[in-house]
């Protein structure tokens, strides 16, 4: 699992005239805007003109950056799904018990998704609009991600650290909890992200899986915050 790519940006704070932005920056701008609109209205309900308007250009100009509307959707889905794997799976390979690794993974998953809620929802709900080849690629990432988690759950069950009895069911339940957050979490809601992270580590690792170490809020400091 390689580290996330770091590419040089144009000097920050130096506004670039819209008509002269570099190709890569403009692409990212388009993808970000499209993700936001796709998440709100659904892929098929959004026109190229809607996406273009959101970045201040005309519909036809989008075809300089992407050959088709589906390619924009593909980039939204691929980026969030691939980065989920790249950023979070390493926590499952780190040293420590299955419970410790899963606790760090739960934190990483939630902290990763927090600033990417719209992309995440698009990646969950709009896969049907992808071409078969693109869809298969995304599905592969998702299947691998879920299988890795299920395997760590199974390892914790074998070692006796988890008292749960069915790894498949526990993994489905865990992902239900984890992915549900994109549906209901809002930055201006009653619950802060850190509250949710600490609460969900307890609910998933401590309670659902049954790892004593994380069974209540007084548990030891939770390891593995965001990579900083």
């Amino acid at each position: 699992m390689s580290a996330p790519k770091r590419i040089d940006e144009p000097a920050p704070g130096r506004p670039v005239p819209a008509a002269r932005r570099s190709g890569r920056v403009r692409r990212e701008e388009i993808v970000a805007a499209a993700a936001r609109i796709f998440a709100r209205q659904g892929y098929a309900a959004v026109g190229m003109r809607d996406i273009a308007e959101a970045v201040g250009i005309r519909g036809a100009s989008l075809y300089h950056h992407f050959p088709a509307k589906e390619e924009i959707l593909y980039e939204v889905c691929l980026t969030v799904t691939r980065e989920l794997n790249e950023q979070n799976l390493p926590f499952l390979d780190a040293p420590g018990t299955p419970a410790q690794r899963l606790a760090a993974f739960v934190r990483a998953h939630l902290e990763f998704l927090h600033p990417r809620r719209v992309e995440h929802m698009v990646g969950l709900h709009e896969l049907a609009a992808l071409t078969p080849a693109h869809r298969a690629e995304i599905d592969d990432y998702r299947r691998y991600y879920q299988r890795r988690v299920r395997d760590v759950i199974a390892a914790g069950m074998r070692s006796g650290e988890f008292t749960a009895t069915d790894a498949r069911l526990a993994a489905f339940a865990a992902f239900g909890v984890l992915n549900g957050i994109s549906t209901w979490f809002h930055d201006d809601g009653e619950l802060g992200l850190e509250e949710v992270v600490r609460g969900y580590v307890v609910l998933i690792v401590g309670r659902m899986l049954g790892a004593r170490e994380y069974a209540d809020d007084q548990a030891r400091a939770l390891p593995g915050g965001a990579q900083t």
Copy 2:
């Protein structure tokens, strides 16, 4: 919460010529077909011609049964959401402890959704396409449903039956698990519905909420199956 409406059906096994079906039967046929296609492709990607073709008529003929495409979506969403409330909330009002009532509710929720997975997914993901008035009506049902569950969780926490500490978070987590099932469950998969129901009662009520009575698979017979 009133009992579900029971209306007489035409004698079963007596096929009715397509061109002479009663209005009500045809409406239900259209709604069922539309739900299936909306779930697969997304509301906006489906044309009236697609829905019509699935029931063996022409696109224009749909307007004899529904005044607009959005009204079909509205009927899909309203029916599944209203019936979720009508069928399952009574289990929260039944006699018994909060744990017993929630266990029966979890079973009812899952058994209700099993034959209605496509309608459920449409009701979860396509709300953005509803008119504001229709959307508000569906949202009211969903908010009420979730609030009732959260209140029973809070009651069980006050009585000491549940060891969970945050009713809001526990309710969000529980609905994440419960609603996730429509995403992954397939009748031809490895897990049967009864396995999932028994497993999820343990995971949600016994483990996440911390009700001793349901803490493991050997627990007492689970009460309150589907109403029959």
